[in-house]
Amino acid sequence: MNEDLTPKELARIKREARAKRIGNIRRRVLVLGATLAAVFSGVALVRTEINQPAAGSATRSTLAQSAPVQSGDGESDDSKSDEGGAIGGAIVGVVNSVLGDSSGDGSSATTSTSSPAPAPQPAAPLTTSQS
């Protein structure tokens, strides 16, 4: 197969193939790095919101809904509402998606639905009077 190629041509083809592989690796590393940075920024944001009582319920609700996306069976499990499990599942899901892991069901954590923010209580004061 290589009998028609000169040593120089063979070396050039090998260099190009190696450069292509390196390019692919670099591109994947960049994409993975950017994705991980985005995910961890999101995780940090979520954890900050969890520590703020005003946003606590909405955050938990969002996390609870994102977890089943990773389960692949479409069933909700009470344990999925656990903050750590949900966050971990979301990270794994994003990483799998970026790396093209075929074991998933094609869904990614980024498709999870967010519940609406808690309804704010009216600003108007309440009035107590003689009952």
């Binding site: 009582p53 005003a54 606590g56 319920s57 609406p116 808690p118 309804a119 704010p120 209580q121 009216p122 004061p125 309440l126 009035t127 107590t128 009077s129 003689q130 009952s131």
Partner: protein
């Protein structure tokens, strides 16, 4: 599940009931609370001869099978008596009728009698006290037979305790929402998941005047009891009202016009507000262990506790 922010106002409990709820399921929850409060009113009003309370009051049996709402009211009446050492006595129906409170009064829709407590004393003022007979101690409930017991002839008045119970039952049906508020003719229950504070205005006991106080609370109950809004001039031309001194059996003129009490529940708030008013100016603050506002006959306003720091729940 539907509804994000719902507000509903209707007439019940001798006044206006206001319900607020926000979050998923608010529409259904507010509707359930309204149904429960209307049912409570229908069962506990003393102004309808066929109400469950009227039938209980005229029943010759010692032990009477009762609805869950009536059982809760009987428990609340007993609790109020125990908490207040008998100052809050739900068995004074005949004394209230004798004082002239024979028909329902809606203070939001009718002008109260022009009673002036601010001038020279028009009545003898003295602290109230528990009755020696303490008939409220005879009230008991049996959860096995679902019945209320009291000696035949002892008649219960739902009054403020009934309104407080209505607010508490409403709160039980709404407190899973993002926020809620229940106002039962002046008695409030409220709260929110974010635990953010809400401004509470204390209405003046005198119609048309500015609020006498302001509280900021994240949740719990705020209840007000007073002698100016459900009041009238009796046949002798003297001011009369619905808060009876258990010892004398007469309307109480203690020097306190109105008391607002902060508490975890509206039943407790009602009991504390009424006990403080009946106890008189000297002892009134001692009843407000969660905080509150006292208005004296001379219009002096006393705030008990730090309004911004009161925690009711």
């Amino acid at each position: 599940m539907s509804g994000r922010s719902i507000q509903r106002t209707f007439s019940s409990l001798g006044g206006k009931v206001n319900l607020q709820g926000g979050g998923d399921g608010a529409l259904e929850a507010v509707a359930a609370a309204e149904k429960a409060i209307r049912d409570l009113h229908r069962r506990l009003t003393r102004f309808e001869d066929d109400s469950e309370l009227s039938r209980l009051n005229s029943d010759p049996r010692h032990q009477v099978p009762s609805s869950p709402v009536m059982i809760r009211f009987a428990q609340a009446a007993r609790y109020a008596g125990e908490l207040s050492g008998g100052l809050v006595d739900a068995t004074l129906l005949e004394a209230i009728k004798k004082a002239g409170y024979t028909e329902s009064i809606d203070p939001d829709s009718a002008e109260p009698a022009a009673i002036d407590f601010t001038g020279p004393a028009k009545t003898n003022r003295s602290p109230g006290a528990a009755s020696a007979s303490s008939r409220w101690e005879s009230i008991s409930v049996d959860h096995i037979t679902n019945s209320v017991s009291r000696p035949p002839g002892v008649k219960l008045d739902s009054g403020g305790i009934g309104k407080g119970l209505a607010a508490d039952i409403g709160a039980e049906l709404l407190d899973h929402l993002d926020y809620f508020a229940v106002g039962c003719s002046g008695d409030l229950r409220f709260g929110n998941k974010a635990n953010s504070q809400r401004q509470i205005l204390v209405a003046s006991p005198w119609r048309g005047e500015e609020p006498v106080g302001e509280l900021r609370l994240a949740g719990g109950a705020v209840c007000t009891s007073g002698i100016t809004r459900r009041s009238w001039v009796n046949d002798e031309g003297r001011p009369s009202h619905h808060l009876i001194d258990p010892r004398s059996g007469e309307p109480a003129f203690t020097g306190v016009t109105q008391v607002t009490a902060v508490a975890p529940t509206a039943v407790e708030g009602e009991a504390r507000a009424k006990a403080a008013l009946l106890a008189g100016p000297e002892e009134a603050p001692e009843w407000l262990i969660h905080g509150g506002v006292i208005v004296l006959d001379d219009r002096q306003v006393i705030t008990v506790g730090e309004p911004a720091a009161m925690v009711a729940s």
